[in-house]
């Protein structure tokens, strides 16, 4: 299922290190960047490239917060629920996201644009409450700010789909 181009890129990167499995996370991140998540097929192919058995890669994949084994929306929203964000409005931020996106925690919007996930402390306690969308962090969240952020992403998706 992985395109030849990607397979070649991985083979090249893996050849540069002494121990192939050192690249396990990088390979999975790159696959996720292309396909959103690690499908069963991608797991098997990635494991082979990394000289690992699929189950060895599975025990790593399922261990990590940022490796996804199920399909997600184009934008994965992770809301920090650790102490300092909790202290500063995590619950109202989460409630607002749930009602605005009409999804529960773990769910994906009908248009496939957003998935809502929990995340523990992301290290932006000075800008609480905070969340991540894909790899970008947003702090000092308010409902107005969330509106602006989400609207920008919705607009972007309209432009890119009409291309």
């Amino acid at each position: 299922m992985l395109p030849d181009e990607l397979r070649e890129q991985f083979a090249k990167e893996i050849a540069q290190v002494e121990n192939p499995r050192e690249k396990a996370i990088d390979v999975m991140y790159e696959i996720q960047r292309n396909f959103g998540y690690m499908s069963d097929g991608a797991m098997i192919e990635a494991a082979e490239l990394l000289s690992m058995s699929p189950v060895e890669l599975e025990e790593i994949a399922t261990f990590y917060n940022f490796i996804l084994r199920e399909p997600v929306g184009r934008h994965v929203i992770r809301v920090c629920d650790s102490a300092m964000c909790w202290l500063d409005g995590y619950q109202s931020i989460l409630d607002y996201l749930r009602s605005r996106l009409k999804v529960e925690m773990g769910g994906t919007t009908d248009d496939g644009l957003f998935t809502l996930l929990p995340v523990c402390c992301i290290g932006y306690c000075d800008r609480a409450p905070a969340m991540m969308i894909n790899r970008t962090v947003y702090g000092y969240l308010t409902t107005e700010k969330i509106d602006r952020i989400l609207q920008t992403l919705v607009d972007q998706s309209k432009t890119s789909s009409s291309d």
């Binding site: 990088d26 300092m84 402390c121 290290g123 932006y124 000075d126």
Partner: protein, 423 residues
């Protein structure tokens, strides 16, 4: 406000990253040139040992001593692991440091590598710090172009390079041995020493694991000397400055560089511009989520490893999380325990089973279903945490045990009123 010497933040600019040239203009990379031209690895270790530089990642282990634990006749290759996992709630200093002046970190790593004759370094970074990872990859390339990294550094026979290793994201990866498994692409359970990583670490080879902030001090110690470094601290026993990151119910949550030994009251009142309007200081976790609640009794304490341990507290990462009188500490402890329960790697029983057990009891107390006997049950269970394999569960015991020690009345109120009195 007290003006204190800035070491790691001396070049810090508002809203932008210090460039390689700016770092050099402030004396950057002179320490590396000096040691490469005329100091043996042993001399470097001696200077850092004399400076009494203690690990800034939480444990406070002396950096020079750690480096000297790599045996003289240890095999090659040897590795350096730079720990920027920083997943402890409340802690964000490594991010601020990398974004402020990345080259003080890079130079520190190269000098550490020289001291232990390492040939490869792994910069371990968590997923939410992707910006830091990108900054570092760019600045490492700049350092390479300038001859500070790669083969034959500054024309010498010393060769060393650093790769950025992205984490899949799990708190346990910051543990000093789990990080090794993480880098090797194995399930990141901690490895119980001995042998210590300095003897057998990555791929069974000698490996030194240091925190980012610890390493960033090294060039400055080499340049200005151990006595200068020790004199920066305000306590007799302390050494150097520290990055304090303060969050919670203060007006200005921030990351500031202040001397070791600065008073907690000064940090809150001057550097954080005091408590928020309508908030009174109730307690703080002085060094991240795995330290004990510190009450107003110690509001004026000098923030140093030794002064805190004398009163049964820990400086940890100096991530000060401030709670006000309107915050329910049962709920706060429940949140912290939830974090530890979720992030436990599950390898050993006291942590895997004990943490969810205590979390459930705290949940019941917070939600009006608590009973008197839960209090001794939580006490007993959190003592078992100390039988765990690594420091995660004993760390988790910090807030739990201190909640029952200092705020037992508040816990009992929840039980007797059958609800959270703060709601």
């Amino acid at each position: 406000m007290g003006e204190y010497p800035q070491v790691l933040f001396q070049n810090r600019k508002p809203r932008r990253i210090v460039t390689l040239d700016e770092y050099r203009q402030s004396g950057g990379y002179q320490a590396l040139e000096r040691i490469i031209r005329g100091k043996t690895p042993k001399q470097v270790i001696e200077r850092v040992t004399e400076a009494e530089l203690r690990g800034r990642g939480g444990a406070g282990f002396p950096a020079g001593k750690k480096w000297s634990l790599v045996p003289d006749d240890a095999p090659f290759p040897r590795y350096i692991v730079v720990n920027s996992d920083e997943m402890e709630p409340g802690t964000f200093k490594d991010r601020v440091l990398i974004h402020a002046d990345p080259h003080t970190v890079i130079e520190g790593i190269i000098i550490a590598a020289y001291a232990v004759s390492a040939e490869k370094g792994f910069f371990f970074i968590r997923p939410s710090y992707e910006t830091s990872a990108v900054i570092l990859e760019r600045e490492l390339e700049n350092a390479r172009q300038a001859g500070y990294l790669g083969d034959n550094i500054l024309g010498s026979d010393f060769s060393f390079d650093i790769v950025v290793h992205r984490s899949g994201g799990r708190y346990i990866c910051g543990e000093g041995t789990a990080i090794l498994n993480a880098i090797m692409g194995k399930r990141p359970n901690p490895i119980k020493p001995p042998p210590y990583p300095t003897v057998k670490g990555l791929w069974e080879q000698p490996t030194v694991v240091n925190n980012v902030e610890t390493l960033a001090f090294v060039p400055h110690i080499i340049r200005n000397g151990p006595d200068w470094f020790k004199s920066l601290a305000l306590t007799e026993s302390g050494s150097g400055t520290k990055l304090y990151c303060i969050s919670g119910k203060v007006n200005n949550p921030c990351c500031v560089e202040l001397p070791i030994g600065v008073r907690l009251s000064e940090i809150i009142e001057e550097h954080c511009q005091g408590m928020r309007p309508g908030s009174e200081f109730k307690a703080c976790l002085p060094g991240g989520a795995s330290t004990r609640y510190m009450t107003p009794e110690h509001y004026d304490i000098q923030m140093d490893f030794d002064t805190l341990s004398e009163v049964d507290h820990r400086l940890g990462t100096a991530a000060i999380m401030v709670f006000d009188h309107k915050t329910c500490l049962v709920a706060a402890t429940l949140n912290l325990t939830e974090f530890f329960a979720r992030e436990s790697c599950g390898w050993c029983t006291p942590c895997r089973e004990g943490l969810p057990y205590v979390r459930d009891l705290l949940w019941r107390i917070e939600n009006g279903e608590g009973r008197e006997e839960f209090i001794p049950m939580i006490r007993t269970m959190s003592k078992h945490f100390w039988n765990a394999y690594c420091a995660l569960a004993p760390g988790a015991a910090g807030p739990i045990e201190s909640l029952l020690t200092f705020f037992e009345d508040e816990v009992r109120e929840h039980i007797s009123q059958k609800k959270c009195p703060f709601k």
